[in-house]
Amino acid sequence: MSSVAQKSGFGATLWDWLTTVDHKKIGILYLLGGLFFFVLGGIEAMIIRLQLITPNNDLVSAGLFNDLITMHGTTMIFLAAMPILFGFMNAIMPLQIGARDVAFPFINSLGFWMFAFGGLFLNISWLFGEVPDAGWTSYASLSLHSPGHGVDFYAIGLQIAGGGTLMAGINFLVTIINMRAPGMTYMRMPLFTWTTFVASAMILFAFPPLTVGLFFLTFDRMFSGNFFDHTMGGNTIIWEHIFWIFGHPEVYILILPAFGIFSEVFSVFARKRLFGYTAMVFATVLIGFLGFMVWAHHMFTVGLGPTANAIFAVATMAIAVPTGVKIFNWLLTIWGGSIKVTTPMLYALGFIPSFVMGGVTGVMQGAAPLDYQLHDSYFIVAHFHYVIVGGVVLAIFAGLHYWWPKMFGTMLNEFLGKITFVFFFIGFHLTFLIQHWLGFWGMPRRVWTFMDGQGWNLANFISTIGALLMAIGFTVMVINIIMTTVKNERVGNDPWGDGRTLEWAIPSPPPFYNFPATPLIRGLDTLWVEKMEGSKEMITPAEPITDIHMPHGSIIPMLMSLGLFIAGFGAMFHQETSWGLGVLIFGLAFTFVTMATRSVKDDLGYYVTKEQILQDQENLKRGRN
């Protein structure tokens, strides 16, 4: 793009990325941040599996093993899966609804920096040698008695990152409600936009309980509170309720965007309209609602009594209905389609059987009496990895290959992509399928090591080999990304050739203002409608090209988050050091000053002139021919 591709030095580029409020750049930042933590969590997973490869292994100590499982779970959920999905939402969703940016670009940037600093805070615990070790669920009686600062890192790090998530969720909601292009009715929104909408609504209602729970935990551990201490009149079980009132919707927040990605991939590569669009939307919304009604199924063995267990068991099984609707709609989308088995499609095809297996074991656990047998066994580990890896991670990889050209303007190598899929998919099933039986054979989860002669040796060995295959698959993908980036072969608007939604109607990567003129949406699968009518420009504009108002970048979001990051250390050390309280106050004051600066200093933005937009268009046309 003539207007943006001015050569600039390293410092200027860095400053540009630190201050950007452009949704596409923030999407890339989320993606890179998420992938970084994905690698960290992956390394932790590999060490866990290597420790369990043989009985009585002593690769890591018992304490370190607890650190590893806690950080693996926390990192993968909060710092890898969610940010990567946010990356896709940020980069793609505004393009799909024909918007120039999200509703609040500044808050978008703030959300990212809070996630980045929260994740950093959590992982700095490794440098201090005091790592969270109470499991990713951090049940209160255990987390309150965990010595050192480990759980403090968990409570404060997640508090900061969670704030960022809440902001991102609200931002997406407002964007989808208010910024759809003319003609983009709710029932014309692509499924990925719909799932973003419902997942964001779930974030809106699910994250406040987490915030409250984490504050209670912070007060209990660092400020002499007694919310969860039963000897002081508190209640330990309350943490479990609060955590799962958040935690269950959280897993749907992860899986719904994954469903959205697959819905796009299926209809593009089966070259058919998504079967049962209306039913898909209804199922998405229904899953969103039901997700809040089932939290106690994580707590069947707590002793809530038969009434609660029965009601929550029935509610849990009800979720299988809308999910089943989705599975059948995907199958019927492929049915009779003219299928192209590209890398994203391969992931999508692999996803259906994998996720169904995870769903079926979920219904098994939903039956409260059986859950008494399965609880805290490797069966549970197998189940949630089947839904999260078989659902969310496969979707992330599918989305990465599918939208890479739109985000970066280059095409990932298809051959290497398929190699990645084969290694990862076989490795995934090898790792986790056998763990169902390990559970049946009585192996408890979260154990550091196990004794010889219990019949678990071979299964654990197979599981570890599978994990290694997954690591190989991921490594191939990283090589693929590096190779593609170095080669830098630019692609056109619609590199897959069968794009149906609006993002494929504009250049890859899009100009920073996305659309020269706001598009007019004339039906579901906007671009497909235009293609079928043989439109040359692929976009029917809803307005003439005029000047575009754009916001300036700002460093304030990063500074705001930095203040909270500093305050976190103050809170953690204020009991044993003299400087802790000062640092806490300084950090919070720093954040408030940046907030005040933002409030007082107006950003009036700037205009991209009509002449410049026309010039860009002209250059693009010349480049194409």
Binding site: A201, L204, F205, H241, D547
Partner: protein, 115 residues
């Protein structure tokens, strides 16, 4: 800078918007009066209870106060915060969803979970 467009109202539009504004003002004043009245009734009920007037027991006064409070919240939202006007469907949906969750979860606790 982009050009600023001025669109003049036609006389019919002008009179329509004036009539709308008048109606809105009338209903707001009526609702304001109603809310003052409800508040007065609430206070009188509590005074009646404190002075042991027959019939104003705790079990009558407290539920009635809650009922009045709910009505006042509704009036506040719909007439003073303009939720009765067009284009408020989405905020209403989110508020009702939030209220429903906020009501259902504690209800679950006090009926079937008992902590």
């Amino acid at each position: 800078m982009s050009e600023v467009q001025m669109i003049k109202r036609s006389p019919a539009e002008q009179s329509l918007s004036q009539r709308r504004a008048k109606e809105s003002m009338r209903s707001q004043i009526a609702m304001f009066a109603l809310m003052i009245f409800l508040t007065l009734v609430s206070f009188s009920m509590v005074f009646a209870h404190l002075n042991d007037v027959a019939g104003f027991s705790k079990f009558f006064v407290i539920p009635t106060l809650f009922l009045f409070a709910a009505v006042q919240v509704g009036l506040q939202l719909y007439y003073f915060m303009h939720m009765n006007e067009k284009g408020h469907g989405v905020p209403q949906m989110f508020m009702f969803t939030g209220a429903m969750l906020g009501f259902l979860i504690p209800l679950t606790f006090v009926t079937i979970v008992w902590w």
